[in-house]
């Protein structure tokens, strides 16, 4: 951390190289694609939109460099590359659809959404000086999140497309509010769990190796579970329910370090999923299509595996190196540009191309996790890890669904799939990660030796706290030990809170005592 300042200046070459790589790769890709689908002529509207995207990306990069100079720009270049790759394939599928008499301008729309995403990212980078501001609105975030989540159910506002009621009508555009609800719920989860993590970490009864949490701590998980099931039941949206649940369970684990929460969460979800597969025909169909995709009666059934299998045939047609952009038949698969963008890309770019895509996702996710590890305050850790894990989990459910690892969930691949709400929302996620990353990497304005000493102290404290916590949990000793553990927890909170405040030197005066008091109160 001490050499971050030097690294910052040294980074320019690295950043320029990445910028050039993205620019060259996408230019070559787009030219090749247009060469193949429209004999090399690039229609003017695409030319304008792509030009604008190039200029805006450059502007956002400069803002990033000036205002969030310590942010890890891999995230920015990664999502830009993925978005451009997605647009390329969506435009290409538009051309194929046009040839089949199904005119579509999803590709151009996606470019417009990309421009909007860039503007919003630039604006947010300028406006938000410190991500911790979001912690102050934890319950407001929850209300907004739930309101967004359930808004499609409001008569007159909600729109039903393809049998799913997960859209709302905003100024003539359909918007998928769940995508934005995801971010607000992340704010709420992160701040809630950061505030209550110790209470949740304390165990109740023990069954075998499993420490059951105390019954009264079940409250939040029940509420969230109920909300997710509500989404699942009312909107028939298995994927979104799963995603929220995964986000919450992940953050819960990061906050408490207790595997029991994961196991309980998993059991709850499996129970709900089993219930759903029995009660809702579309969920049951998807499970059936996953178990026996190639059986002829499943293949031919209404709501059967035909779409999935057609997508798989696309992947197989792609093979190792793909058919080449514009040479395959991705549009044979229904929803080729959204739910099945992965198989469309696989068909034309091959396994090689898909591995490149997965590698870019991995870079973004690794950068996110490293950011979470580096950032000193717990809210930031929870927020960054929650957002990143949700992204990773979403990729897993989408790709896993297409490649027969799990049943299809109806989620779409972040940054690549056609759909404005998803694109804009995921760009906001990237923006948040960039801001957190900037603050995580920013060297202390005070002497660097102090920073180092503080970091070392934190590590020692955390280790000590963990050891004692475990010891305590094993032996169930009386409150004396609990108190000493609480003291060390408090010590750690002081260090957490130090980075939590605007002036890094002074500890927050209110929070640590509050936590300590709560701790004692519950454990007495």
């Amino acid at each position: 951390m001490t050499d971050t300042r030097e690294k910052r200046t040294g980074d320019l070459g690295h950043q320029l190289a990445l910028l050039a790589l993205v620019a060259v790769l996408s230019s070559v890709g787009f030219l090749h694609m247009f060469e193949s689908v429209s004999a090399g002529s690039v229609p003017q509207r695409y030319m304008m939109a792509l030009g604008a995207a190039g200029v805006l990306s450059l502007v956002v990069w400069i803002i990033l460099r000036q205002l969030k100079s310590y942010a890890n720009q891999n995230i920015f270049f990664g999502v830009t590359m993925l978005t451009l790759l997605g647009c390329m394939e969506i435009i290409r599928i538009d051309y194929e659809n046009e040839g089949l008499g199904r005119a579509s301008s999803a590709g151009f729309n996606q470019l417009v959404w990309f421009l909007l995403s860039l503007v919003l990212m630039g604006g947010t980078l300028v406006a938000v000086k410190d991500y911790r501001i979001f912690r102050k609105f934890s319950y407001i975030s929850m209300v907004i999140g739930l309101a967004l989540l359930f808004s499609p159910m409001v008569p007159g506002l909600g729109v039903s497309i393809n049998g799913s009621r997960i859209w709302i009508n905003v100024l003539g555009h359909s918007v998928q509010p769940a995508e934005f609800a995801k971010i607000f719920m992340a704010f709420f989860f992160a701040s809630y769990l950061f505030d209550h993590r110790d209470r949740l970490a304390v165990g109740g009864k023990k069954i075998g190796a499993l420490h059951l949490p105390r019954l009264r701590d079940f409250g939040p998980i029940i509420v969230v579970w109920a909300a997710c099931m509500g989404v699942l039941v009312l909107q028939k949206d298995l994927g979104t329910g799963l995603l929220f649940f995964a986000m919450f369970v992940c953050m819960l684990y990061v906050a408490t370090g207790r595997v029991s929460w994961i196991i309980i969460g998993f059991i709850f979800f499996v129970a709900a999923a089993f219930f759903a597969s029995q009660v809702f025909s579309h969920v049951g169909n998807r499970v059936e299509a996953w178990l026996h995709p190639f059986d002829n009666h499943v293949y031919l059934a209404v709501g059967g595996s035909q779409q999935l299998v057609t997508g798989i045939f696309g992947l197989a047609a792609g093979g190792l190196f793909g058919t080449g952009l514009g040479q395959g038949y991705p549009a044979l698969t229904p929803l080729a540009n959204s739910d099945f963008i992965y198989s469309s890309l696989g068909e034309e770019l091959g396994l090689t191309g898909l591995f490149a895509v997965l590698a870019i996702y991995t870079v973004i996710i690794c950068t996110g996790i490293v950011t979470a590890i580096k950032v000193k305050d717990g809210f930031g850790k929870l927020l960054a890890s929650g957002l990143v894990f949700t992204m990773a989990f979403q990729i897993f459910t989408v790709v896993g669904g297409i490649t027969l690892v799990i049943p299809l969930t109806g989620l779409t691949l972040p940054y690549m799939a056609a759909g404005g709400s998803s694109l804009v929302a995921n760009w906001m996620v990237a923006t948040l990660l960039l801001i957190i990353s900037h603050q995580a990497n920013r060297p202390d304005e005070d002497t660097s030796s102090d920073t180092f000493a503080m970091a070392a102290l934190e590590v020692i404290n955390e280790k000590k706290a963990q050891e004692e916590k475990q010891k305590m949990l094993r032996s169930h000793r009386a409150s004396r030990e609990v108190a000493s553990q609480a003291v060390s927890t408090a010590t750690q909170f002081i260090t957490d809170a130090e980075s939590d405040t605007e002036s890094d030197a002074e500890p927050d005066s209110t929070e640590p005592p509050t936590d300590t008091r709560e701790q004692e109160e519950y454990d007495e």
């Binding site: 990061v254 798989i312 197989a316 047609a317 997965l358 991995t362 590890i373 990773a392 990729i395």
Partner: protein
């Protein structure tokens, strides 16, 4: 919290590893079987996306070609004079893809996928041009083929004509009626194609069957050529050797009496020369001759003349589905009465029209049986030659001496028994055949070649199924017209 974050990271790595593996399994490990799934239309679209090579007649007339179309299949296959050439071309459809004929036997060359086209593929890759399939030039003579089809079609015959070049084995014409139009099956409308196909496949007249190669007929008296060859080869017989005949012959061990069709086949005093026995198609003489020669001698000659083996006409397994003629049959373990009947081409002897054309060619070609060929040359889309036909010997069935004698005897058939076949200035050698089907109708046959007194240019076999009259009456004019057309 960093410890738990690391755990989260491990979970993510595990999830992504699963995705890498699952993608690899579908895209590489299982790709082959997925691509060949019948429900997978992509392979079909890829096959259609490249212009399929043309199929040409010997003179360059286009029989089948692909032209750009404005739908998802990119290219439309079309056949000129479809029903005339369908036994040669086969068809290429969206439902069953390449089937029958050259389309099937040269599929990978036509589609441009064959490894023999690697040079063309490389050039296409470098120049950015679409990889076109190879051009297949057949040995078909358009005038002969058209005439053959027209003569069969005119009277609504159920039959086939095969014409070959005796010295090379090149097939000059191969017609079969009733026929089908491959254009009906080449439509891009899947349900339309399925309908047409069902209609053709379930039709009682079996239009999809190439009778020239895939239908077996009782050869009738044309089989006497085989028996005569066996007799001459045994060394015990000459054309003027007198053999037992008579107006009637009671099949050994039975009370069944075999008569002759014309009294000239009876001979005098129960004796007839081998030459006249063939000339007047004496049943009594050949039945007894067969019994005298014995099963082994007749069966051996039949085997040398191609009975019992499928005959490859075109293609190999590596470039498509080879075009083959069904194996003609000469039964084994015959009782004497069955041997007698078999020796006059009745009972269970079965022959394809192609084989009879090959037997006529063998007589014309000094006893050497050649492999029939349908393709003269294969050229890449830049017209560079990829492969050319070569003459292959199937068997040396009998000596040139025997061939010469059979030639004379078959000329005698035309000169003495069937003068209607005669053409001025052209010597023709032939053998008729009329196999009774037992329901009042016959299989009428004619096989022969011309010119019989010089270098033979054409050997022909005609079969008409279910006709009322004799072979010579109905098949005769067809053969005569074809020879006249080809040689004048």
């Amino acid at each position: 919290m960093n410890r738990t974050l690391r755990h989260i990271f491990y979970v993510i790595v595990a999830l992504f590893t699963i995705l890498g593996i699952s993608s690899s399994i579908l895209m590489v490990v299982n790709a082959q079987s997925l691509n060949s799934d019948t429900r997978n239309t992509r392979a079909l679209y890829h096959e259609y996306a490249q212009p399929r090579g043309s199929i040409l007649a010997a003179d360059g007339t286009v029989l089948a070609s692909s032209t750009e179309s404005k739908d998802i299949f990119s290219f439309q296959r079309s056949y000129s004079n479809g029903p005339v050439y369908s036994p040669v071309t086969g068809y290429f459809s969206v439902t069953v893809r390449a089937d029958r004929g050259i389309e099937a036997s040269r599929n990978s060359q036509l589609s441009g996928q064959s490894s023999s086209l690697w040079m063309a593929k490389l050039k296409g890759l470098l120049s950015g041009e679409k990889n076109s399939g190879a051009i297949i030039t057949t040995s078909i003579d358009t005038k002969l083929q058209n005439l053959a089809y027209e003569l069969l079609q005119k009277n609504g015959y159920d039959g086939a004509v095969v014409a070959m070049e005796p010295t090379t084995g090149r097939i000059l014409a191969m017609a079969s009626t009733p026929s089908y139009d491959p254009n009906e099956l080449a439509s891009h409308n899947t349900s339309e194609v399925a309908n047409s196909w069902t209609q053709l496949a379930s039709s009682d007249s079996s239009p999809l069957i190439n009778r020239a190669t895939s239908q077996l007929y009782s050869p009738g008296s044309t089989f006497k050529v085989v028996v005569a060859a066996a007799a001459l080869e045994s060394g015990n017989y000459q054309p003027d050797t007198m053999i037992p005949a008579g107006s009637e012959y009671t099949l050994p061990g039975t009370t069944t009496v075999l008569p002759n069709a014309v009294s000239r086949g009876d001979g005098t005093n129960g004796q007839i020369s081998l030459m006249n026995a063939l000339t007047y198609s004496s049943n009594t003489a050949f039945a007894q001759l067969g019994v005298t020669l014995g099963q082994d001698a007749v069966a051996n000659m039949a085997k040398k003349l191609g009975y019992g083996s499928t005959i490859n006409i075109d293609g190999t397994d590596s470039i498509g589905v080879p075009m083959q003629a069904t194996a003609s049959k000469f039964p084994s373990n015959l009782s004497a009465d069955k041997l007698a009947l078999s020796s006059i081409g009745q009972s269970d002897v079965r022959t394809t029209p192609l084989l009879n054309a090959m037997i006529a060619s063998t007589v014309a070609n000094n006893g050497v049986m050649l492999k029939p060929t349908l393709v003269d040359s294969v050229r890449a889309s830049d017209l560079s030659i990829i492969s050319e036909r070569s003459t292959t010997t199937l068997s040396e069935a009998f000596s040139a001496d025997t061939a010469g004698k059979l030639n004379t005897m078959m000329q005698s058939v035309v000169d003495n028994d069937t003068p209607t076949l005669k053409i001025s200035n052209i010597k023709i050698a032939a053998k008729t055949g009329t196999a009774e089907l037992g329901n009042g109708t016959n299989n009428g046959w004619l096989m022969g070649f011309a010119p019989a007194d010089g270098t033979p240019k054409i050997a022909i076999s005609v079969v008409l199924h279910g006709i009322k009259g004799y072979g010579i009456q109905e098949a005769g004019p067809i053969m005569r017209s074809l020879i006249q057309e080809y040689l004048s």
